[in-house]
Symmetry: C2
Subunit: 262 residues, 2 copies
DNA sequence: TTCTAATGCGTTTACTTTACACAATAAATT
DNA sequence: AATTTATTGTGTAAAGTAAACGCATTAGAA
């Protein structure tokens, strides 16, 4: 929605194209400079930032919708993208007056008033998806109603619209818990990467330090990565070996938690 | 919906009361005789069994809706009930003809025809919740359109309607992975229970055997249960101590998986 | 050649999990 | 009253896993 006409069409006809009462909110984690960041957007005339989101088309598979929305926001495809929860309890989601108010401020930019029984003003449940992307590869397409985009550090997320802070908290917990079961790093690292590279990535995501040597043993023991023959030239120091994710093992289906005998 | 009039009202006016395109499906695990079972229902003139489900009222919190639906089906309150996924990918959910067909068979019992653009015939996403109940305490209220109920063993679930088998698979994986983080046994065991009782429960849920002595150590180490002073008389054998769940620890929020250094 | 800052790889120690043995006990049987 | 049987209570040794740590290797710069 890059121009006023698109917005007008969306507001007037969106209910025919999309499932009402349901949105997808994306928690897009970005990795850059050994830091974990988060993509936020701010709509026209809104004080608080929001998570990027979108709607599900009436005959579109849910996962496909999530990928489409992510593509529309970042221009990236084939990402690691995972559903983690559906949010439908927060009182902010049931406060019709606040929701209508916010929408009216946003859509005023396109000279549209959203009345009380407009489809956009109705109660919405939100399906949370999280993705991991390379900060630098994201191409933001300027949308008409979006005033600004920003990447914030995961440790200093401001107060967001509606229940979006809760959504982020839950996304982060899920991401961290899945880090050793799925090949989550895939979109953040080149096909071949060095041990120090994946080491820094994991430290950024989990926000703690790990012993370099034990870390290598762990990844190899889990079968998450394989050491290659090649090395990479990194300047004035010893050339590190390259590693690659093990697809067979890495993409195995969701697992029971790490329970041992029990 | 115990009589034809209720059904007629639901079909004609349900779209005003409930959110369309969205249902809640409940995977109700029952424990009895040291076996883990599952509650299924069969609607009128349907070949396959289904999961019990329902709709979310327009201004009802999602969790509240799940509890209400579970109460309507089982007459039980205050259960351990947990959302685990939202299903919106299965091709069966997008096959309008099959859905309309099935609905027409079901609602024929109330002499209602569901036409192509009826709200019930539209595409529906389903939010999966799972619950654990004591088999014996469940009171099934006979519903007009429901031909039968049954408890099936978790290891012999028949082919179900739509994607309900997939929903069960995922519920079971989630239940098992959360068994040591949340006080899941609470609804299945009396307030005070013996070690052999909770031991059998866990074996049934995880479908494997555990060493009695290590099991006790594990539960105590996790702080999930506390040993009481009292014992229970169990007939011709040594009286076992009673245990109780530790609420403070047990009801802590969702957790990162069991990651150690990493 | 030496120095520096990084990687590669191994060993020891601590902790957690698993395997296993034997004592205690409630009631029925002799 | 002693014995038997089936069950529960608790400790301890062995195995496996994770954490701490030491030292050699190496690429380029001084």
């Amino acid at each position: 929605m890059n121009n006023p006409q698109d917005v007008v069409d969306f507001v007037h006809n969106g209910h025919k194209r999309y499932l009402p009462h349901l949105s997808i909110d994306c928690v897009i984690f970005g990795y850059h400079d050994q830091q974990l960041k988060l993509l936020l957007i701010r709509y026209h005339d809104q004080e608080n930032w929001s998570l990027p989101g979108g709607f599900v088309e009436r005959h579109e598979a849910l996962t496909a919708a999530a990928h489409r929305i992510l593509y529309e926001k970042t221009q990236l495809t084939n990402l690691f993208l995972q559903q983690f929860y559906i949010f439908g309890d927060s009182p902010t989601r049931l406060n019709r007056i606040e929701i209508q108010n916010n929408h009216n401020k946003v859509y005023a930019k396109a000279n549209i008033a959203i009345d009380e029984d407009h489809w956009l003003a109705e109660r919405t449940l939100s399906i949370g998806y999280y993705a991991l992307v390379d900060y630098q590869e994201v191409t933001i397409t300027p949308e008409f109603l979006v005033e600004g985009y920003c990447w914030v550090d995961i440790n200093s997320v401001p107060e967001l619209q509606y229940d979006h802070n809760e959504i982020i908290d839950r996304a982060l917990v899920t991401l961290r818990s899945q880090l050793y079961q799925q090949s989550i790093g895939q979109n953040l690292l080149p096909e071949k990467f060095t041990l120090p590279e994946i080491h820094s990535l994991y430290e950024a995501i989990l926000d703690r330090q790990f012993d370099r040597r034990n870390f290598r043993k762990k990844l190899l023991a889990l079968g998450l990565v394989t050491q290659l023959e090649e090395r990479r030239k990194i300047g004035p120091h010893r050339s590190p070996f390259l590693y690659a994710f093990n697809h067979e093992i890495a993409s195995k289906p969701f697992e029971e938690g790490t329970m041992t005998e029990f």
